[in-house]
């Protein structure tokens, strides 16, 4: 593995000296969101677990480790990645998961991926090997640099390995479903937010009316208790475990029918990251609503005026999930503070990559 690190370092230094660029890639499963013309620096052979101590609730893995391998290892000890990472199909590496920073169905309960980054070892744009953070949950020595790499799309440097906080898997899980109007479902979440129910994930699918699925995760008694309490408010039914697993899996792997590209690829899939309390959007057609209202997927055409009306004052979180997704996200375009934000982001990028070796993604 040291030989690989030397190769990485050589390639970075070469690119830096010759004014070249590099695009970091694992399995390339996310490259449809960040296509790059730069020569590829592949991490796929830099794989394996560095340290795993289940009773310490952390794992250190190399960036090229396949995500499913990591999940299998954790599963064998009854643990998991609580943020239920979003992945695309069966592939994907740990480094790609961190760099994309995209959370899956459990986002509102678990928090984003970056909350689980405890430490990181990187090669920066000068080829320097740097470590930040560590393996412990509490650590305020120096600025919290390791979490900066969550959602950085490979622009800050090459992640060599990352230490992630892991948690015991919930002891039981139950998915409830109910036919409901969209507005009523969104209103129900407003009340549910102050209830002590172990609501691990939610999905509304449909138009103005549709089906709401709620996933409860906790100890068996607590799940039962929440089920009874929710039953008093909504006429919910239990979903069969296999069916439920398939449903949530279709979201975490981005394979749900409503998320598939249309044949001609002419109509974009929009991703609305909005404050969860925002009322039903004035759009027609099928919608998927995750994260208790905080994430909404919709396929359709929008002119700029219509778009602005739909962003509810949060323009930065609404964009097509397409080849410009990463760059649009990183540019911070559409936020109210483009100038200050842009200057700080640029400054931070330059700290790690002064010669823009990684800047083209």
């Amino acid at each position: 593995m040291d030989g690989l690190v030397r190769d990485f370092t050589d390639r970075i230094r070469e690119a830096e000296a010759g004014g070249g660029t590099l695009g970091i890639q694992g399995h390339g499963s996310r490259s449809f969101l960040c296509p790059s013309t730069a020569p590829i620096l592949s991490t796929r052979h830099y794989q394996g677990v560095v340290t795993y101590e289940p009773e310490e609730l952390f794992i250190t893995v190399r960036a090229g480790t396949p995500l499913h391998e990591l999940e299998d290892i954790l599963d064998s000890k009854g643990q998991y990645l609580a943020f239920e990472p979003l992945r695309f199909g069966a592939g994907g590496t740990v480094g790609g998961m961190v760099a994309a920073g995209l959370s899956g169905p459990r986002r509102m309960r678990s928090g984003p991926i970056r909350d689980y980054i405890l430490g990181i070892r990187i090669l920066d744009g000068l080829g320097r090997e740097l470590r930040f953070g560590g393996t412990v949950i509490k650590n305020v020595a120096g600025y919290d640099v390791s979490r900066l790499f969550g959602g950085s799309w490979g622009r800050l440097g090459l992640i060599l390995d990352v230490t992630l906080k892991v948690l015991p898997k919930p002891r039981s899980s139950l998915t409830l479903v109910v036919d409901i109007e969209q507005e009523k479902a969104l209103n129900w979440f407003k009340r549910a937010r102050s209830q002590p129910w172990p609501l691990g994930a939610s999905l509304f699918q449909g138009h103005t009316a549709g089906q709401l699925a709620l996933r409860l995760e906790a100890g068996p008694e607590a799940v039962k208790e929440a089920f009874l309490a929710i039953s008093k408010e909504l006429p919910v039914k239990m979903m069969a475990p296999e069916e439920a697993e398939g449903l949530w899996r279709s979201l975490s792997t981005h394979r749900h029918a409503a998320l598939q590209p249309d044949k001609e690829q002419a109509v974009p899939l929009w991703r609305f990251s909005l404050p969860p309390g925002v009322e039903p959007l004035a759009i027609t057609g099928e919608l998927l609503i995750e994260w208790h209202g905080g994430l909404r997927w919709w396929r359709g055409l929008l002119d700029p005026e219509a778009l602005e009306a739909l962003t509810h004052g949060h323009p930065g979180g609404v964009m097509p999930f397409d080849a410009h997704f990463a760059s649009r996200n990183l540019s911070g375009q559409g936020t109210h503070q483009d100038k200050v934000r842009g200057r700080l982001d640029d400054g931070v990028l330059k700290v790690f990559d002064p010669f823009a070796v990684f800047s083209s993604g």
């Binding site: 909350d115 509490k138 650590n139 120096g142 015991p168 906790a218 404050p275 969860p276 200050v340």
Partner: protein
Amino acid sequence: MNDPADMIDAEGLIEALVEIVGPEWVLYDPEETRAYASDALSAYREIPRVVVLPNGEEEIVAIVNICQQRQIPIVPRGAGTGLSGGARPIREGVVLSLARMNRILALDPEAAIAILEPGVRNLAISEAASPHGLFYAPDPSSQIACTIGGNVNENAGGVHCLKYGLTLHNVLQVRGILSSGEVFECGGQTPDSPGLDLLPLLIGSEGMLMIVTEVTVRLLPRPTHAKVVMASFDSIETCAHAVAAIISSSLIPAGLEMMDQAATRAVEDYVHAGYDCEAAAILLVESDGSKTEVDEEIAEIKEILLLNGSRSLVVSETEEERQRIWSGRKNAFPAAGRVAPEYYCMDGTVPRRQMAPLLAHIAQLEKHYRLRCMNVFHAGDGNMHPLILFDGKIMGEWARAEAFGNAILEKCIELGGTVTGEHGVGVEKLDSLCLQFTDAEREVFHALKKVFDPLRILNPDKGIPSLRRCVEHGRKRVDAQKRLPTNLEHF
């Protein structure tokens, strides 16, 4: 202040500050500014040139502009409960107290968020949220006094962060003033915000990157029930082993705290919490949630503790009893203050399995430095608070206490941990940071500071040691006595 030019500049500065906030909110008489000479780590003191107490973001912008033009350093300050000297004034600088900005700007139970001015007290958030069945989770032991602005700057934790996370995990958005005088908002109420995720950089940045003026936090459903188990152990090792057993089960306790015998004895004399003072160590394990959830977890916790060598255990049956059991842990610091004139609180964090080896090492250090140490810690996350007892009036004791503390922190790094889990670096742990990071890593920290604060006027010389300092101090680690100012005041 000996330089007459300094005096003239000081006059001009004070006049300018008075114009912004009014005469009653600018303090420069040493009788008044003395109260701001230190934070809760009072061994590090400096009387500031001037203290200013603005009320509102516009006033802060005006103050920052004035300081920026004159290159005067600003030390932001919340309630001054910090334990690492992060709010220690800079002699030629301005202390900017955010105490007056203590309004809860919004509390939205449907969105489960609160928007706060920086001077809102930590406990006041949960008090305001309580009627809606909500609470703000991070609960540092100073929560009655410490402010959310300070919490953000220190990434404050508390006894419940194993389950509910640190400040970082509970803050959605931070707004503040950069040293350029510009407003910067980071994070948001949307689950994803575009741009680099700078929020983790700002949280825990010890006032070195910007002055926080507004914080949006998420609120969580308040658990309806809670119970605590108090378990006794005959050895530190068995106790540490039981902690590992709990963590590797499928439970995440709401609280998991450990105290050694020195600590239980001091505390028991003080608050009569009902602790087993014959035990080598005790463990407090809390479960919270619904009644069913709590009963389910407590049964499991009891079983694990008994299987792992607990010689006796008590479960709180009433809320009153639970509060009594916790009162001991919560009063550990004042109890230390009763058994010795002063105590020096450390904050190292190690992987949980290293807790017993670290404690054994601390026991040796007690002999070496001829000082007693009581140990209380957040066992769930390996964050230890050894309290080194000393008397500053005895020549050389503070120096020994400081050297003792540094030796503990070095051991924490050696065992794979960190020199500070939740108290911050401030001025106290600058030298320890030389050991934890390489030159290149510290260069990155300095470069990041420069991005946010190119003029270096926001709390300069805190948090990150200069390369020069590391060369001067880092190589000879046992020269703590030489660093000790001769005229040090205590309490």
